[in-house]
Amino acid sequence: MISLSVVDILGFLLAATRWTLLLSVIAFVGGGIGALLLLLLRYARPAVGARFMSLYVELLQGTPLLLQLFLVFFGLPLLGIDVSPLLAAGVALTLYASAFLAEIWRGCVDAIGRGQWDASASLGMKFFLQMRYVILPQALRIAVPPTVGFLVQLVKSTALASIVGFNELTKAGQIVTNATFQPVVVYGLVAVIYFCMCFPLTYCARMLERKLSISR
């Protein structure tokens, strides 16, 4: 057993927090791009893409993230692809985020009335022009609050990456606990750090929600 001061513990945990943030950013950016592609598939004609999209979303929403993480971490090496814990966690969380974001954004696009499609079509606009200039800009406004809300979920979900040995915040907490035998102090601090990352986001989401509802 090593004796560490609270400041030492905090320093160690904060160093690992960088990896939690990095993983969150990777998952959010990757998931966002994936979701946008799924969304275009969903609304493009012919509608075969829509079937694929809903199957993909169903599969990823209907299985635990932990299992997705295992499948990527243990599955990719079977295909001869060597995966580091960061890569495995990044891929799994990206797939997971893309499915959820695609579903959230689909709801937002559906909220845009049929008339907007009709009007832009009647002006000779093709699908990508309609999406780019008419539908998505409007959907984006409604999408901000639920998207930020999901981002909070995502930050917390990165904790699962500790199970495949990725040295992020939760994993660092386990290591420090094993060294110090002070689980309450250590995990308490870990919780505070997560809260400090998530609270600004939820606060931000609430502000945006209020602001966007006023401007409507």
């Binding site: 009335g113 008339g115 907007q116 009709d118 009007a119 832009s120 079509a121 009647s122 002006l123 000779g124 606009m125 093709k126 022009l129 200039y133 008419v134 800009p137 409007q138 406004r141």
Partner: protein, 257 residues
Amino acid sequence: MNAHATPLPIDANAPMVEMRNVNKWYGKFQALKNVSLAVAKGERVVICGPSGSGKSTAIRCINWLEHHEDGQILIEGVELTPGFKNIDLIRREVGMVFQQFNLFPHLTVLQNLTLAPRKVRGIGRQEAEETAMRYLKRVRIAEQAHKYPSQLSGGQQQRVAIARSLCMEPKVMLFDEPTSALDPEMIKEVLDVMIELAEEHMTMICVTHEMGFARTVADTVVFMDHGEVVEVAPPQTFFSAPSSERTRAFLGQILGH
């Protein structure tokens, strides 16, 4: 990007719009029954009829917002067929004004007018804005150019919607009950704009209950009921001596108060 697409194989001698025995079903419900209608260049046609008579469906088929299942629809001799690749080329020539205006709420009035000319026709920003201002002046709303649609009254929004369609310089304008969602005091300002357009011999197909408009500016009045074209006549004949009993009953209902 689409500005250099191949031109349509237009037949200049063909009617502007022609429907030949068009049928359409929604499931088992037949919305259009053997609808035939020819609209010449410069002709102003008013379509009237009770709600659910298929008149909106008919004009929505003309720019392929609804698809007919049987029969032919031709725009200047170019047939709209399922799998028709260049529907956007047709739509550029066919303007449409909707009951609910359908302005783009996230764009200013000016941006509403310049979006399609710039992105679809590939016109430069300055030229598009000059054209837009010209049409905004024509619908007497130029001073609102930098406002958002939600800041305008219904009548103003509908006039903007008309200007937006005109900015694409269409060959034919479709109006789908353009005054039905308006408060009574705003109907006139929209009708005035439409009358001006009609006086300039814009080809117009207008679904409306405004019989005064039909009487003064239409060349032809069409009466539809239960998905069928019941009567096609010039307004004098249509209002004074309709040939069909169903037309008489309809006119009695809407004019008899």
